[in-house]
């Protein structure tokens, strides 16, 4: 009886089955998309697949509208990530190095865009653009994305700063390095992986964002917008499957590596404690 509930022992069958069920529910649906890229059926989602074909990858590659959407998405995500890296790092450094009135409020303000439903950010930006007669452009999409990417970088960098061992910055200055040298030789190497992880997450977040984008893109089409239009009015079902797969792959790896990077550092920290 006691060994049943002691920590580290195995879970009861009910817990195991429940956990397995939830795990499958969470992860299997994505795999279905991979399967459907191979269907020869152009008009319905028939299962079992009536056959297997690889032709849709070829068809997708020929589509100019897809390439435009893909390139726009990558450009937007890159610029939004760059903006987020700069703003997020600055904010994290400021919050880390000094205590000032309203420090908590900074975290609060930064976290708001991911805590509030995307539609709020979207419609707020949209109405602001309308109020000031600001035309939709590449930059309106970037501005929208950067608002919720900053917090991702900020959180990663701040967590790393707080884990930084000892008084390294003071030690560096003590040994004769000025602020810039200290940043270059001590701070940057310490936060490099956090910058990388934060950047990766921000990129993935921006790359497949759709809700805010629908409000700030106007007539432009990012890859997610393209998929969304297909969701509402399916016209190119097999091609959509291929595009969905591409989006999954493009977002999976950055997030996976970012998670591994941050999970790894927190593991080693746990060991030293």
């Amino acid at each position: 009886m006691r060994s049943n509930s002691a920590p580290g022992s195995s879970a009861s069958l009910g817990v195991k089955l429940g956990a397995l069920g939830a795990f499958l529910f969470l992860n299997v649906p994505i795999l279905i998309i991979f399967l459907y890229t191979l269907t020869p059926d152009e008009t319905t989602y028939t299962f079992p697949l009536p056959g297997i074909t690889f032709k849709w990858f070829g068809v997708a590659v020929q589509r100019a509208d897809l390439w435009r959407a893909l390139i726009l998405s990558i450009q937007v995500a890159s610029v939004a990530t760059a903006v987020a890296l700069i703003l997020g790092t600055l904010a994290a450094a400021a919050v880390y190095r000094s205590s000032f009135f309203g420090r908590e409020a900074v975290s609060f303000l930064l976290v708001l865009p991911i805590a509030l439903p995307g539609i709020v950010t979207g419609i707020a930006l949209r109405s602001a653009l309308g109020t000031f007669d600001f035309p939709f452009s590449f930059w309106t999409i970037v501005i929208g994305h950067a608002t919720f990417c900053v917090v991702v970088v900020y959180n990663n960098i701040l967590a790393r700063f707080r884990r930084m061992q000892g008084s390294q910055i003071e030690a560096s200055m003590d040994l004769g390095a000025n602020s810039f040298q200290t940043f270059r030789f001590v701070v940057l190497p310490n936060i490099a992986t956090a910058l990388f992880a934060g950047g990766m997450l921000a990129f993935a977040l921006s790359f497949d964002e759709v809700i805010v984008t629908t409000f700030t893109a106007g007539q432009q089409s990012t890859l997610p917008i393209w998929i969304f239009s297909q969701l509402v009015r399916p016209r190119d079902r097999p091609v959509t499957n291929v595009v969905a797969t591409i989006v999954i792959l493009i977002t999976f790896f950055p997030i996976f590596f970012a998670q591994k990077l941050t999970a790894g550092t927190s593991d080693t920290q746990g060991e030293t404690k």
């Binding site: 061992q165 000892g166 390294q168 003071e170 003590d174 040994l175 004769g176 390095a177």
Partner: protein, 362 residues
């Protein structure tokens, strides 16, 4: 007092004295530091001589670490001046002061190996690589870490990290080396070994060491002089012997070594005067009731309430007749633990030479 004396010197027009006065390695001139309303350091005056091993001793929160941080340049004084070899450095950033620090947690750079850590100060000053390597080599010899150049800090023991931190600071030939509780993280045996090594090292390189610690034994064994801090003020500055034997205040008497502070009626009964005095436990003799009291001694009777056998010596707690108690320490020259433990509960006579009594203020 000091300023009065030197003022007198100037007035007498004795120029020889003037030329002989070299600027102290480090000077605090009425230095105060406030953190908001909190007075961390309160009008501190200090003169630290060149080549001295100087300790700042005090309980945590007494202001000693803040003083160290002001010397290093991490904090700026709210008022007053800090002079380094006569130059006012109060508003220079850390990297423009010829002062280096050994941090409590060593603060080694985890992404650099031992060699890169030690060479850091030379690297940022763009010393050519060949010379850097040569000097790192010398430093590794000095701190007996030859062969460890390529290790990462995480692959070193606590004592080794400490030596790397020391080498990293000393390679810059600082005018003053600051050490912030550098032995705190080490175990007792290693600590005692490092105390000896540090002292030897200091005498070899001849650099002024300023050593911050809360461990009075450490301060007493290593220092040329000690400044004792309490509540942001310097209570007393002096050699270990001066501080130990002539405590200026009751705080000093209580903090340095164990001291018996005797006040009120008990003090009056023993000395016949209305004074407060301190007497060190090892100066008190424990004797039978029949024993005679030597000349020029105080004596008082009491009952032994507690006996703690500590190997080399034994600590007794004696309750005095008429209230109060005294701690007495005697070396176990001939006695065994069995002998001393039997004393518990016995009536005894305590006596000590009058010269060992220190009258203390307040």
């Amino acid at each position: 007092m000091n300023t009065l004396l030197s003022g007198a010197g100037v007035h007498s027009g004795n120029c020889e004295i003037m030329t002989n006065i070299t600027a102290p390695a480090l000077q605090f001139d009425q230095v105060s530091k406030y953190f908001g309303e909190v007075r961390a350091v309160d009008q501190a005056d200090l003169d630290i001589r060149d080549g001295e091993f100087f300790s700042m001793l005090g309980p945590s929160g007494s202001g000693k670490t803040t003083c160290l941080r002001m010397i290093a340049g991490f904090e700026r004084p709210t008022s007053g001046r800090i002079l380094l070899h006569g130059q006012d450095v109060s508003s220079l950033p850390p990297y423009e002061r010829n002062v280096n620090t050994v941090f409590q947690d060593y603060a080694l750079f985890p992404h650099m190996n031992v060699e890169e850590n030690i060479a850091y100060g030379l690297m940022v000053k763009q010393v050519p690589k060949a010379e850097r390597l040569k000097r790192v080599e010398e430093m590794l010899e000095l701190v007996r870490l030859a062969g460890f150049a390529k290790r990462k800090p995480s692959q070193l023991s606590g004592g080794q990290r400490q030596r790397v931190a020391l080498a990293r600071a000393l390679i810059n030939h600082p005018k003053v080396l600051l050490l912030d509780e550098p032995l705190g993280a080490l175990d007792l045996k290693l600590r005692q070994q490092m105390q000896v090594e540090l002292k030897a090292l200091q005498q070899r390189v001849g650099i002024t060491f300023i050593f911050v610690t809360h461990d009075q034994e450490e301060a007493l064994t290593m220092s040329d002089r000690i400044a004792l801090f309490n509540l942001g003020r310097i209570e007393q500055t002096g050699t270990p012997a001066e501080i130990y034997e002539h405590p200026a205040t009751s705080f000093v008497a209580g903090f340095v070594g164990t001291s018996n502070l005797v006040t009120g009626d008990v003090a009056k009964r023993i000395t016949g005067q209305e004074i407060i005095f301190s007497i060190r436990p090892e100066k008190i003799h424990l004797a039978d009731l029949e024993a005679g009291v030597p000349q020029d001694s105080h004596s008082v009777d009491g009952v032994v309430r507690d006996v703690v056998y500590l190997g080399l010596y034994t600590r007794y707690l004696v309750e005095l007749e008429g209230g109060g108690d005294l701690v007495v320490v005697e070396q176990n020259l001939k006695t065994t633990s069995m002998d001393v433990l039997k004393v518990k509960g016995k009536k005894v006579r305590l006596h000590w030479k009058k010269e060992h009594v220190r009258e203390v203020g307040n």
